[in-house]
C-alpha cells in the first residue's frame, strides 16, 4: 500500500506583524483569490510561500518549486523531515500524490517555456511600467537573483506581494525603480498592505483598497502614477 500523503494546507508559524492596514496574511489571502483551477503556480521565497495556506475551496493547483519539484505538499511532521526534500527556500517539505522530481534545467524549461501559469514573488520596488527590483542593493546587500529573473522574464502572469512603503514610510510603488532591475515591464498586478493595483499603459490602476484604507492614503503612499477611476471597492477577505 502506498503511504497516504496529506493534502492538508501548509502550516507555517509566523509572527504576524501589523505592517499596515493588512498584514502578510491579508496580502496572501487576497492573492490566493487569484488562483484558478488547474494552474501550476510558482511561489517565491518569503511572504508568497504563505499563499499555499489559503487556496480557495474547490480550486486545485499544483505548486512548482524551482529546485526541481512539482506537487509540493505541506511541511513534514516533526521527526519526518528529509534532508533530500526541500523547497526553493531550503525549507523541508513533503510530496503530494502525483508529485514529480526533476533537475534544474527541466525545472526552468517549465518556467521559461511558460508551462507555469502564475508566479507570485516579493519585491523591493515596482515601477509604473511593470519593472521590478528585488535582488540587490548596491554596496550593501547582494543575495543574488536566484530564479527570479527567469521567472519574471517568462511568466505570463506575475503578481507581486509587497509592502506599499518601506520602514521609513517611503513609497516602493514608483515611477522608476532606483535599484538594479530584476526584470523589465513584466509585473501585471501588485498586492500590498494597502491596495490591489493593476499595471497597464505605464501606470498603476487602483482596483481595490485594503479594509479601512482610503483612496487618499493610497495616493499619498504611491510615488508612481496612480489612476483612480470610479468607486474603488474594499478587498473582500474571508
Amino acid at each position: 500500500m502506498k503511504k497516504e500523503l496529506s493534502r492538508e494546507p501548509f502550516v507555517q508559524k509566523t509572527k504576524y506583524q501589523n505592517l499596515g492596514m493588512l498584514d502578510k496574511v491579508g496580502i496572501v489571502k487576497r492573492i490566493a483569490q487569484e488562483l484558478q483551477d488547474g494552474w501550476y503556480v510558482n511561489l517565491g521565497i518569503g511572504i508568497p510561500t504563505l499563499v499555499a495556506n489559503y487556496i480557495p475551496q474547490g480550486i486545485s493547483v499544483e505548486f512548482q518549486s524551482e529546485n526541481g519539484l512539482l506537487g509540493m505538499g505541506a511541511f513534514p511532521y516533526d521527526g519526518e523531515e528529509d534532508a533530500d526534500l526541500i523547497n526553493a527556500g531550503k525549507q523541508t517539505v513533503t510530496l503530494l500524490p502525483g508529485a514529480t522530481l526533476f533537475d534544474s534545467a527541466t525545472s526552468f524549461a517549465m518556467i521559461r517555456g511558460q508551462h507555469v501559469q502564475l508566479t507570485v514573488l516579493g519585491a523591493m520596488e515596482v515601477a509604473e511600467n511593470g519593472d521590478i527590483a528585488n535582488w540587490k542593493i548596491p554596496g550593501r546587500m547582494v543575495k543574488g537573483m536566484g530564479g527570479a529573473m527567469d521567472l519574471v522574464a517568462s511568466a505570463e502572469n506575475i503578481i507581486v506581494a509587497m509592502m506599499h512603503t518601506n520602514k521609513k514610510g517611503e513609497s516602493k510603488i514608483l515611477s522608476n525603480c532606483t535599484l538594479p532591475l530584476t526584470g523589465v515591464a513584466c509585473v501585471k498586478k501588485v498586492v500590498t498592505n494597502l491596495a490591489v493595483m493593476e499595471i497597464k499603459d505605464g501606470a498603476f490602476h487602483l482596483i481595490e483598497r485594503a479594509p479601512g484604507v482610503s483612496v487618499e492614503e493610497i495616493q499619498n503612499a504611491t510615488e508612481g502614477t496612480l489612476i483612480v477611476e470610479g468607486e474603488i471597492p474594499e478587498m473582500q477577505l474571508d
Binding site: 505541506a74 526541500i86 533537475d103 543574488g144 526584470g183
Partner: protein, 232 residues
C-alpha cells in the same frame, strides 16, 4: 568498465590550483560533501567554482571560502553565507551572479555541445550588459554562453561502476546538468551497487557522463531551514 576509485582523496586527484570546478547541489541539498572535504584538506586554491549557492558559513562551499581557496564564484543565489557577502563586498572574491535557469541551461548546453543560446532572462538588467540582444517572436532575448569545467563534482543517491546515477528527491537539482559539463566528472554516491543492479529505466544520468565514482562516507546532510508542523 570500472570507474570506481577508493575515496574522495583519490577522486580529486588531478585537481590543481586555478582550475574551474562545477559542484552540484541546491543550498546544502545534494552537495558532494566528501569531495569538498578533500578539497579543503588538500588546500587547493585559486579555484573558480560554479555552483548554484555558496554553502553556509561552516558547511558546504563555505568551508572552501573560509580558507580563501575560492578566487571566483559563479552562482545564482548566495544569501545564506555571511563570509561570502563580506569577501564579495570587500572585493576579495570575484562573483558572477547568473539567473538560476540560465545557470542550469548554460551547464546543460556545455555538456550537450551547444556553445550558446538565447534566453529572455535578464534582459534589461545588469545581467545583459555586454551581451548580444536579439528579438524572437517580438520579444528581446540575450545570448548566454555555455559553461564547462575542468572537473564537475556531483552527488547521487545510487550509482554503479559504469558511472550510471540515480538521484533522490530534490537532491537531484544541478547534479545531472553539471555531470554532463565536466571534462572529468566525479560522482560520489551514498550507495555503490553492482553492475546490472540499477534498473536502466530508472537511471537519471547515464554513465557516459561520469569518469570517476566512489561510495561516500559519513554524510551529514545538514538541513538549512528545518521547517515542520506538529501532529496536534
Amino acid at each position: 568498465m570500472n570507474k570506481v576509485v577508493a575515496n574522495s582523496n583519490k577522486a580529486i586527484e588531478g585537481i590543481k590550483d586555478g582550475m574551474t570546478l562545477m559542484l552540484g547541489g541546491f543550498g546544502l541539498c545534494g552537495i558532494p560533501e566528501n569531495c569538498i572535504g578533500s578539497l579543503v584538506k588538500k588546500r587547493i586554491t585559486n579555484l573558480t567554482c560554479i555552483s548554484n549557492n555558496a554553502g553556509v558559513d561552516d558547511f558546504g562551499l563555505g568551508l572552501l571560502l573560509q580558507q580563501r581557496q575560492i578566487k571566483k564564484m559563479i552562482s545564482s543565489y548566495v544569501g545564506e553565507n555571511d563570509e561570502f557577502e563580506r569577501q564579495m563586498l570587500n572585493g576579495e572574491l570575484e562573483v558572477d551572479l547568473i539567473p538560476q535557469g540560465s545557470l542550469a541551461e548554460r551547464c546543460r548546453a556545455g555538456g550537450a555541445g551547444i556553445p550558446a543560446f538565447f534566453t529572455p532572462a535578464g534582459f534589461g538588467t545588469e545581467v545583459a550588459e555586454g551581451k548580444e540582444i536579439r528579438e524572437f517572436n517580438g520579444k528581446p532575448h540575450i545570448l548566454e554562453s555555455a559553461l564547462t569545467a575542468d572537473f564537475a563534482i556531483v552527488k547521487a543517491w545510487k550509482g554503479d561502476p559504469f558511472g550510471n546515477l540515480i538521484f533522490k528527491g530534490t537532491a537531484r537539482n544541478f547534479n545531472p546538468v553539471m555531470a554532463m559539463a565536466g571534462k572529468i566528472t566525479i560522482a560520489e554516491v551514498e550507495e555503490l551497487v553492482e553492475p546490472g543492479e540499477l534498473d536502466p529505466n530508472q537511471i537519471h544520468t547515464p554513465g557516459i557522463f561520469v569518469q570517476r565514482i566512489f561510495q561516500g562516507v559519513d554524510y551529514e546532510k545538514r538541513i538549512e531551514q528545518r521547517t515542520v508542523r506538529s501532529k496536534n
